[in-house]
Structures are given as C-alpha cells and as structure tokens.
Amino acid sequence: MNDIILTASNLKKTFPIHGGIFYRKIARVNALNGVSFSLKRGRTLGVVGESGCGKSTLGKTLLRLYEPDSGGAVFEGRDVFSLKPDALLKLRQDMQMIFQDPYASLNPRMTVGSIIGEPLNIHRIGTREDRKKKVEAILAIVGMRKEALSRYPHEFSGGQRQRIGIARALALRPKLIIADEPVSALDVSIQSQIINLMIELQREFGITYIFIAHNLAVVEYVSDEVAVMYLGHIVEIAEKRALFNRPSHPYTLSLLSAIPVPEPDLKNSRERIILKGDVPSPIHPPSGCPFHPRCFKATEECRHAMPVLDDVAGDGALHKVACFNR
C-alpha cells in the first residue's frame, strides 16, 4: 500500500503585482519557493501554515489551475505539467479539489442538483437516472435534505455551501482530493461527520488526501503526515506523531503554542510564544531563512544562509526540518 501517488519537485510559482497609474507590473509575489514532497497512496498529508504562505496556490498548481514557473509534478506516472487538454480532463477526474471559498467557487446560476451532478455529466458517468440517484445519495451523506437540490447556492448558509462543495468533489470518487479548508465553516458536529466520512471513504476506496486546514486538532486527527509551510517553503514535514510530539522548527513551536484551548478557565494561564516583528512579505522575502526576522532562536547564520530541509537525527519516523538551530 505504500506506493507513491504524487510527487512534487521544486515547485515555484510567482504572481505579478501591478501598480502605478498605468497598472504596470512592478513586482512579483513569490507564492511557492521550491516545494517538494511525495505522497503515499491512501494516506493523508495535512498542510498547515501562515495565512498567505501558498497553501491554496500549491493545491491549484497541482491541479494545473495555475501553471508553475518551474518545477514538476508526477501523478500516477503522468507528468502533470505536460498533459494535453483531454489527458488533463482525465487527470481532473482522478484529482478533485474542495475550494476554500465556497461562495466564489459555486456557480450562482446553477441549482445545487446540477452543481453536484456537473462533474458526473462532464465525465459521462452512468445514465441520467443513475446520476440523479447518485447526487441525492451524496447530498444525504453530507447531511443535507433532498429539498436542497432545486435551490441555488446563495440561498444557503456558509456551512451548507461548504457541504455542497464537498459533495461535488466526492461525486466522482476521485483518487486524490485536495481539500482546502473543507470543514472550517461547519459546526463541530457536522465537522466530525464530514471527517468521519472522509476517513471512511479513504479506508474503503483508498482515497488520498491533501488536507489544508488551520485547525490543528483536526489536522492532527486526519493526517498521517503533516507539512508546515512558511512563506512559500515547507519548513518542516514529518510523520504526524513526530511533528506533534517533537516539533522542531521554531515556527511550528509558535503555531502549536497559539492553538486556542476550549477551556475558559485556562485562558489567562497559558504560555504563548508571541512572534515578534512584522509578517514578512512574499513580495520582498527576507534573506537567509525566511523565518529569521520573527524567530526567537535566530542567530547570525540565519540572516545570510538558507537552511535546507534535512532529516532530524535520531527520529525513527519521517521528520525533516529546515532550521539551523533546531
């Protein structure tokens, strides 16, 4: 079961920034700065990191919704970035994305039934009747009533819209699902329901997930491995237990210390690592280690040289970190 379904190597992606009265290109946002990882079939890679660090861009690039500046990705032996349109269509049948902003990703002029059924239609799966049944079944799975099928996305609450997006991604039973904040708009009960469902589908059909989220308790529960991103870099990647029990990168440490705890009595007694300094800019990234301006362990070396992702000695499991002073 441990074969590799997807490898990404040294992915780079920048976006132009415009300004001035002529709206000229004046700079570039470095969204991905050389991201590499490999993903085992039937497992879940959790991706966490600072807002704006390139998580959604990573997902969209892997699906080729964005073309990367450089780097490669291989999905089941197929070179993602050189696929012809029809092969790309096939790829998107195997690889689906649950988008972060459900409102922006659902067509407002389509009913919920046709939104969920659309991928089935595009890929001509089953007869009309089959598809209709399938859509109904999947809607029930995400905890919504049948009456919803003939209504439009704007008529639903945020969490209901998110579930419509999840239902659409699940409809095709893809091999890999890139889930970008799939449960952030859901109450904890439905959140658990969706996570239980995703894990069940994984057990049954061997679906692989890239699970992007900010809720670390959720990431801890669903993931096998976790990647921590900062400013377009993976700064730490590890088998889940290794990461949560022995976090090594200073950014990971500060992240773990900032998790809100559901115990009001503890709110004043917790110790937090407060990051100093300004959030760095992806337009003018700092020299050396991208984290050094805010790092509480930074030394002279960090200002000039870039640490590479390296194995943490003595940790049996997968555990790599990019830091000089771990």
Partner: protein
C-alpha cells in the same frame, strides 16, 4: 464571572459617550465624550468597572423568513438576546441555524425578496433600528455598527481594487482628503498583519489569499471604530498565530473603547478564549444562554452538551470515529410542533414532542436561560 446588576440602563441615543470613540490615528485611540457640557450625564454613564456593561443591543422576538418558491422558511423564529458594551457575546450553533441571518437582520441587510424581517425589535442604544428610515440606517452601518462577513467574497466587490473599497468606507462617513484616506487604509492593513500593504492596495480581491481577504474585511469593519461589531466567522481562514493577533486586537478595542461584539464562530476554542457570554442557537431558536464559564463547565441543554462533546481536541488518536450528534436538523419549512431538537435528543420524552419548551431563566441562577423540559443536572 462578574455579576450583572438587576437593571441595566440602556444607553440613550444622545449620550453614547461610552461607545463613542474619537476618530484619531486609526481606530486605536479612544476617549470618552469630548463635549464638556455633557460631562455630567457622561459621568453617570461612564460607570465604575463592573457597572460598565450597559446594553448596546437588545434583540427582541426577532423573526426572519425567506420565501422560496411560494414556501416559507423560518430562519430565525422569535429570538431575544442582549449585547453589552465592553463585552463579547458568542453566537454558536448548528450550521444553518440562523446565526448569519440574525446578524444580517441587525444590519438590515436581509436580501428582500426572498427574505423579510417579519417581526420583533432590534434596539440599538435604545432605538429600534427596524423603524428608522433606510438612509439613516446607511449612516449607522459601518460607523456605529460594523460587520465582518462570513465569506469575504460576498462582501468584497471583485471588480474594484482593495484601495477603492477601503476608501469607500471613509468616503461615506467622513470627509478626509484622498491621501489621508490612503494613509489610514495602509495603517489599518498593517494592524491586521498584511505585509507590505502599499503594494497590496492595487490588488483585486481574487489576488489575495483567503486569509488576506478576510483581514481586508476586518480592517474595513474596524476602520471607523464602531461601537458594535458583528463578526461572522472572522478568523476561519487565518492560521492560529494571526488569529490570536486579530482576536487580541478585537479584545483591546473592547477593553479600551468599550466596543460591544457579537462573535459568531464554530471554533469553541475561540469562544472559550474571547467571549464573555454565549448564546446557543438551533434551527432558528435560542436554546441556551449563559456565561462562557458556565456553558463550558456545565451545559444545561442536551444540544449544548452534544456540541461540547464534538469539540476536536489535541492529542486524540484515531481509535474510533469522532463523536457526532446523530440525526439531522428539522425541516425549517415545516418545523416540528414540539422541541426542535427532540429527534436527536437523548433525554427526549413524550412531552417534548407535544409542546415546545420556552426559553426560561433557570431557577436559582442569575441570568442563565435554557429552553428544555429536561435540562441536564
């Protein structure tokens, strides 16, 4: 927990001293009323520490309905709750239970049609917002009551730059020259942690990450130092370190300026850390209200208990599935006759299905309310 006094004075409109922030250097400088002739009344209203909690918002029997293909869906069915100055009220509950609809109603932004506020009062500093002309409401919005919307893309206009949209907030309410508006916008974006804000002003919303969009909206909401902030899932797209930073910012505004906040969120960790009072909603109704300490330590409603049991906690192994509350919310087109939670409740008895329990003050408590025939002990 602070004990609230029996009679809380609603703030009369003309004496909004406590909530009145002085716009100066962004929104973080707050002072009490500048007008010395009002000093006396102001003194009475600027209370000693624990008397400070005067009511800013009182929602009374609010009812919101949507008409879809000739059928009526009751999104909010007669809810009442209070929000006090200098306090944060958390609004939690099942997805689709009417939290955003309540917030939109306070802003009078329910899309009509299909929606309509069909009953109730929304008293803001004692004045019913449902009765004032819409032009006046436009002036209240943004300046006195600001809202952070759940999905940034619903609030940000995709065809205008960030700069244009931020400037609009100022243009509507104050007469600053262009470069001052620009300066203030940049400062606000800095305060919510957007790196190199100057470089971002010319961006369109789709060029920002989910969390950056959310922060732009937070910056817009806070830019005029509102005295009531309605924050609908303000931090869902933010990582925990920036989330902590934003929550702290909101906390500071609350403590320094007496801003009242309604915080809608599914993250009960955030509720525990930032809210003073909690209102639990389900299927358009309020099931329980209590202080944040009581609600976590000792939930009374079976639904609240179920919710607490579902909180994902750190350090869990994947031995069994996560706990959920079995079943589905009732059909809001045809709400059941009895308790709306009955179908999913482990305490349900015949009475529950016949008669709907009312939200009642719990005997022996100060302010706690619960709507259940058989609350937990």
């Amino acid at each position: 927990m602070t004990i609230m006094q029996q009679q809380e004075p609603a703030i009369p409109n003309s004496h909004s001293a406590e909530c009145n922030a002085i716009k100066h250097e962004g929104f973080h400088v707050w002072r009490h009323a500048p007008d010395s002739t009002r000093a006396d009344t102001v003194q009475k209203l600027i209370p000693k520490r624990e008397e400070k909690h005067c009511l800013v918002l009182q929602v009374r029997n609010l009812k919101v309905e949507f008409t879809i293909e000739g059928r009526r869906l009751t999104a909010v069915s007669g809810t009442s709750f209070d929000v006090k100055a200098g306090r944060t009220t958390g609004l939690v509950g099942e997805s689709g239970c009417g939290k955003s609809a309540s917030a939109f109603a306070v802003m009078r932004l329910i899309p009509t049609p299909p929606g309509e506020i069909t009953g109730g009062e929304i008293l803001f500093k004692g004045r019913d917002l449902l009765k004032i002309p819409i032009e006046e409401m436009r002036l209240v919005r943004g300046k006195e009551i600001a809202m952070i919307f759940q999905e940034p893309m619903t609030a940000l206009n995709p065809v205008y730059t960030i700069e244009h949209q931020m400037a609009e907030v100022y243009r509507l309410h104050c007469k600053y020259p262009m470069d001052e508006i620009r300066e203030r916008s940049v400062k606000m974006l800095e305060r919510v942690g957007i790196p190199e804000p100057q470089g971002r002003l010319k961006d369109y919303p789709h060029q920002l990450s989910g969390g950056q969009r959310q922060r732009v909206m937070i910056a817009m909401a806070l830019s005029l130092s509102p005295c009531l902030l309605i924050a609908d899932e303000p931090t869902t797209a933010l990582d925990v370190t920036i989330q902590a930073q934003i929550l702290e910012l909101m906390c500071r505004l609350k403590e320094e300026g007496g801003m009242a906040t309604v915080l809608i969120t599914h993250d009960l960790g955030v509720v525990a850390e930032t809210c003073d009072d909690v209102v639990v909603m389900y299927a358009g109704e309020i099931l329980e209200t209590a202080s944040v300490y009581e609600i976590f330590k000792h939930p009374l409603h079976p639904y609240t208990k179920g919710l607490m049991d579902c909180i994902p906690r750190m350090g869990r192994t994947r031995e069994g599935p996560l706990s959920t509350i079995e079943g589905m919310v009732p059909d809001l087109f045809n709400p059941p006759q009895g308790c709306r939670f009955a179908d999913r409740c482990f305490k349900c008895q015949a009475l529950c299905r016949q008669t709907e329990p009312e939200l009642k003050t719990v005997v022996g408590s100060d302010k706690r309310q619960v709507a259940c025939w058989f609350p937990l002990e």
